[in-house]
Each structure stands twice: as C-alpha cells, then as structure tokens.
C-alpha cells in the first residue's frame, strides 16, 4: 500500500515537471509549427543561469526567476535571429520538411557543447529551498517531501497563471489567434512575428522552471551528460505528443501520464527500463490514438 502511494506521488511530481517541458514544446509548436528539439538544451542553459544566481546570491527564490528570465531571453534570441531566417530559407525543396528538425537538433548540439565548455562536464549542484526528506506516515516514510510538495504547488500555480493569460488576456488571444490562423491574425492587426517571439520566450521560461526543478528533484546535480537532462530531452516531446501537441491542457495531462507510467514501470517492473519505457509509451500513443489524448481532428501526418 505504502509502495503504491509512493509510486503515485513520485510519478505525479516527476510528471508535473515533464508537463512544464511539454508546455514549452507546445508553445513553440503553436507559434511556429516547429518541434523544438533544442528545448531541453535551452532548459539546460537556463538551469546554469539559475546555478550562477545560486552561487552568487545563495537564494533559490532569486535563482528561479533568473533562470526563467534567462531562458525567455535565450528563446527570444533564437527565434529572432535564427528560426525566422531558417524558416524563410528552407521553405521550399526536398529538405523543407526536415530542415527545421535538423536545425533545432544542431542548436541542441551547439548549446550542449557550449554549456559543457563554459561550466565543464562535471555536475553542478543546486540545493532546493526546502528539505527533500519524505514526510512520515506512521512508521513509514513517504517518498513525498516538502520539496516535492513545493514543486507540485509551483507547477500548478504556473499552469494556472499561464492558462489565465491565454484565456483572459488580449495577449493570450493574440497568441491563440496567431497559432490557429496567422493570416486572419494579421488581418486583425496582430503583429504575428512579435507574437511568435513571445510564444518562444514563454516556452523558454517554462523550460527553465522544468530544468531547475528536475535538478533539485533528482539528486541536486545537473550536467549535459546527466540522466536528468536526457530525460528532459525525451519526456517533453513525448508528453506533448501524448497530449496532442496543440493543447496546453493536453501537455499537462501528457506530462502526468508519462510521469506516472515511468514511475510504475520503475517500481513494479524493472528499473533499467527507465529510458525504453517512454519510447514504448510514445509508440503506443502514436498507434492507438495518433491525435493524442486531447487532440481533435488534427492529423498526425503533417
């Protein structure tokens, strides 16, 4: 029983982090119709920004916004100077379908080697603001700690803020209109280019939080070669696909589903299926319900 509860709690916490990553992927997909495989790299870089803030200011609550702002700035920069140019240049020809994919992969490689050469290959350590020792329930210790609670609450608050922004504000309406129909958005006077950059920066900030939390939720260390990073790389994409790629609600659900499944597989089947489990889930989703859990008519074949 206690094992089941622990598995659930671990899964939900990890899932909420994947959800943030998936949100980042969805935000970029909605604004430029590109799957940003460099998103995890951007999260990595932002986490290093957060780490620097930790080193100098010694407060997680300053480091987190620093990482977010840094992540947003990096994302905006990439969209402005790189993606715009790329999408314009690779609009035609045999490679047009795969050029953005290849380009974001190249970006991932560049960011990885850059962070690695600046901060070294070794792990950096970020300590969470509260203890990661589990609450006790009678004689048992739960796998749920104040830190995990904090992560969960923060993610919920951020997702609520984001959905409020999307549903209730003019900025959100612009973001949605530009995503669904750039032409009508432009005819309505929306500066679609600027809105795209905005979508990317929101994604960058969201990925930054995911990176920071992934670090403190693990063993507190992070590096381009760590398992935490590889997991971010695949989980965001897979969770976003499970959720249907176009929906923020779907991204959250996708993240939680992924987190729970991985947690159960690790606990009850075999811990070395860590990386192959997400792949299997992805294949199952793509075959059984290719439009994702939330996705409506939009076909996968594009």
């Amino acid at each position: 029983m206690i094992q089941l509860i622990n598995t659930l709690l671990i899964g939900i916490t990890a899932g909420s982090i994947y959800a943030l990553m998936a949100i980042a992927i969805v935000l970029v997909w909605r604004s430029t119709r590109v799957i940003n495989f460099a998103q995890a790299g951007m999260a990595l870089l932002s986490t290093y920004f957060g780490y620097e803030a930790m080193v100098h200011l010694n407060s997680f609550w300053i480091a987190l916004p620093v990482a977010m702002i840094g992540g947003a700035a990096v994302a905006a920069f990439i969209e402005l100077v790189f993606m715009r140019f790329l999408l314009k240049r690779s609009a035609h020809g045999a490679i047009s379908g795969v050029a953005p994919i290849i380009a974001t992969l190249g970006l991932l490689g560049v960011i990885r080697s850059l962070t690695s050469s600046i901060w070294g290959g070794q792990d950096v350590r970020i300590v969470g603001p509260v203890s990661n020792v589990g609450y006790s329930l009678g004689a048992n210790t739960l796998a749920f700690s104040p830190l995990k609670l904090l992560i969960l609450v923060t993610v919920i608050v951020l997702v609520l803020l984001l959905s409020l922004l999307f549903q209730k504000s003019n900025m959100g309406l612009s973001l949605r209109a530009s995503a669904f129909s750039p032409e009508i958005a432009r005819l309505s006077g929306i500066r679609v280019n600027g809105v795209r950059t905005l979508g990317w920066s929101l994604a960058g900030a969201s990925g930054a939080v995911a990176g920071m939390f992934q670090t403190v939720n693990g063993n507190g260390s992070f590096s381009p070669d760590s398992i935490e990073f590889s997991l971010l790389l695949v989980s965001g994409f897979i969770a976003a696909v499970i959720g249907g790629l176009d929906s923020l609600v779907g991204a959250v659900i996708g993240g939680l589903v992924l987190g729970l499944v991985i947690s159960f597989v690790l606990m009850y089947i075999n811990s070395s299926l860590f990386f192959i489990a997400p792949f299997v889930i992805l294949l199952i989703v793509l075959f059984v319900r290719p439009q994702g859990i939330i996705g409506a008519k939009a076909a996968r074949r594009a």
């Binding site: 045999a94 490679i95 379908g97 994919i101 290849i102 970006l107 490689g109 290959g121 990386f275």
Partner: protein
C-alpha cells in the same frame, strides 16, 4: 547504352578501390586508420541519405541501428564462433529486421513525430544493453576480426587490414545502393518524397516503399555499426551515444541528402573534425574543457550552417548552378 553505363560504373568502382589500395601502402598508420573510419562513415552516412534524401524521412535513431548491427556481429562471433564475413552479414540482417519494425512504425508517422520517436529510441536502446548479460553490460563485448592473413605479408598491419575490410565493404555497398536507387524502388521513393498523394494515385504503395527504404537503410547502418566496432575492437553502450546519431546526420546533411554522390564530403569531414579541433585548440591554447567540447561544437555548427546556406548539399548546389548557367547560355 544503359548496360554499358552500368559496367562502366562497376569498372570505376574497381579502379577507385585499386587507387585506395595503392594509397594505403604509402601513408602512415594513423592515416590508414582514418581511412578505415572514413569508409565506415561513408556506409553509415549513405544509409541516412538513402532514408532522408530518397524517401523524405528523418531518423535520429540510426545510432541505435548501428548498435544492433554491432552487437549482433559481436555476439555471433563470440558466442557461436561464426566466421567474420558471416558476422557482417548477420549484422546487416539483424539491423534490417530492426529496420522493418521501425519502418512499420515510420510508415504511419511523418516529420517531427518520426524524428521524436527515433530520438527516444536512440537514447533508450543502448541503455537496454545493460539488461542482458550476453551483451556484456556497461563494459560491452569484444569484437575481434582476427589478424590479417599471413599471405598478405609480414608487415601488413592490423589497421591496414581494418582499412581493407571497411573499404571493400564501402565500395560494395555504394555500388549496390546506387543500383537500387536507379531501380524502380528508387524512383518510387523519390516520387513518394515529393508528392505522397500523387504517388499513391499513380499506384505506388507509399507505405510499403517507406518500409522498404527503412529496411535497406537499417541493414546498411547495421553493417557500418559492425565495422565501427571492428575498428574500435569493442561494442558497448557508450560507443553509440546520441552524439553519434547527430554526427551521422551532420555528415548526411553536409554530403547533401538528395544525392549519394557527395557522401565522401561528409565522411571525410567527420573524420577530420577531431583533428581540426585539436589544431584549433592548440593554436588558441584552449583549456581542457573547451578542447573536449570543440569537436561537438564544430559538428553542430556545421550542421546548422549547412541547413541554412546549402540545404541541399554542395553537390546539388553545384549542379543547379551549372544547370542555371546552361539555361542562361541557351537563352
């Protein structure tokens, strides 16, 4: 006429092989080893070109397919004492089988979905090797193709032997691939790439031809995986990191994914990059951190630059420029 061209091409390949053979006697050991690596990369890159350029699909999981080939060759050699030549065939078959499975999945997916799924595979599969004791865990397996036969002379080195095997494999597979691409299958792939619906209306089973493309590509990748582990001497999960898949993709994009003829460009570049990085690092007196990361940085930067400025590869670029000039002359 057609017949003549075909045998002509075969002669060309043989002549090229002979030149390589002569060259391998003239250069030092390091170059010979690099020559072997180039041959391995030629095979691996052509498998990606086959898939991306000729069938319009992008796979980031070729590292995993290389691993399948390498592991099956090593297991066949170590556990069952299979002759070396057969080991390479087994590598091809095993990876091709993996390719069928992947192809069935891929036929239903396109673009980013396929890319993401294969990315997950590339990260996931090598770690699975830790699961089975027969695969040797983190340390991996030894893959030893034996000493060169004595009949080749006493000063015939191990590296030269590697080079011979890989170069021969590369020449044979390039010749086979270029013929496949000129066949009906190759035409079907190209048709499916540019206009899937139109190709379907013309009676081409695009699903089946995608699976076929994946199968052949995977088999070729498996061969290169076995050859790669031959040159390293061992097979282990760490020999097939995500970075390998990226490098191969870079090699393919550098070569130009729409044609096989540029494949040497990518292969030579990939082999040259670590050396170039070394020279640069020494010149600027970089710290160790930067030195170790420089090759990766160069590979990724090259990938981006190529996609931005010569998206169809230097060969195609050159061709279209020539075609344009010809047109202007005619006018």
């Amino acid at each position: 006429m057609h017949r003549f061209q075909k045998s002509n091409k075969l002669l060309l390949f043989i002549a090229f092989g002979f030149i390589l053979f002569l060259l391998s006697n003239r250069v030092d050991e390091l170059r010979v080893y690099q020559g072997a690596s180039i041959a391995v990369y030629v095979i691996a890159i052509s498998s990606i070109i086959l898939l991306t350029g000729y069938s319009g699909q992008v796979s980031l999981g070729h590292g995993a397919l290389l691993a399948i080939g390498a592991y099956s060759a090593a297991v066949a050699r170590n556990e069952f004492n299979v002759p070396v030549v057969l080991c390479f065939f087994i590598a091809v078959l095993a990876a091709a089988f993996g390719g069928v499975l992947l192809g069935v999945a891929a036929a239903r997916l396109t673009g980013p979905y396929l890319a993401g799924a294969t990315l997950a595979l590339a990260i996931g599969l090598p770690s699975l090797a830790n699961q089975f004791t027969i695969l040797g865990g983190e340390q991996g397996l030894i893959f030893d193709v034996g000493f060169p036969p004595l009949s080749l002379g006493e000063d015939f080195t191990q590296y030269k032997w590697f080079f011979w095997i890989s170069a021969l494999a590369a020449l044979i597979s390039m010749w086979l691939l270029s013929n496949v691409l000129r066949s009906r299958f190759g035409q079907n792939w190209r048709a499916g790439r540019s206009h899937e619906v139109a190709a379907q209306l013309a009676g081409i089973n695009t699903g089946r031809s995608k699976i076929l493309a994946f199968t052949i590509s995977a088999g070729v990748a498996g061969l290169s995986g076995a050859l790669l582990s031959m040159t390293i001497g061992t097979v282990s999960p760490s020999a097939f990191p995500l970075a390998l898949s990226f490098s191969l993709l870079t090699g393919a994009v550098l070569s130009g994914v729409t044609t096989l003829s540029g494949v040497m460009i990518g292969a030579v570049t990939l082999v040259a990059i670590p050396e170039i990085a070394d020279v640069i690092a020494n010149r600027i007196g970089a710290s160790e951190r930067i030195t170790t990361n420089l090759p990766g940085l160069i590979v990724s930067t090259l990938l981006i630059i190529t996609v931005l400025f010569v998206p169809h590869g230097p060969v195609e670029q050159h061709r279209s420029r020539k075609a344009k000039k010809l047109l202007q002359k005619k006018n």
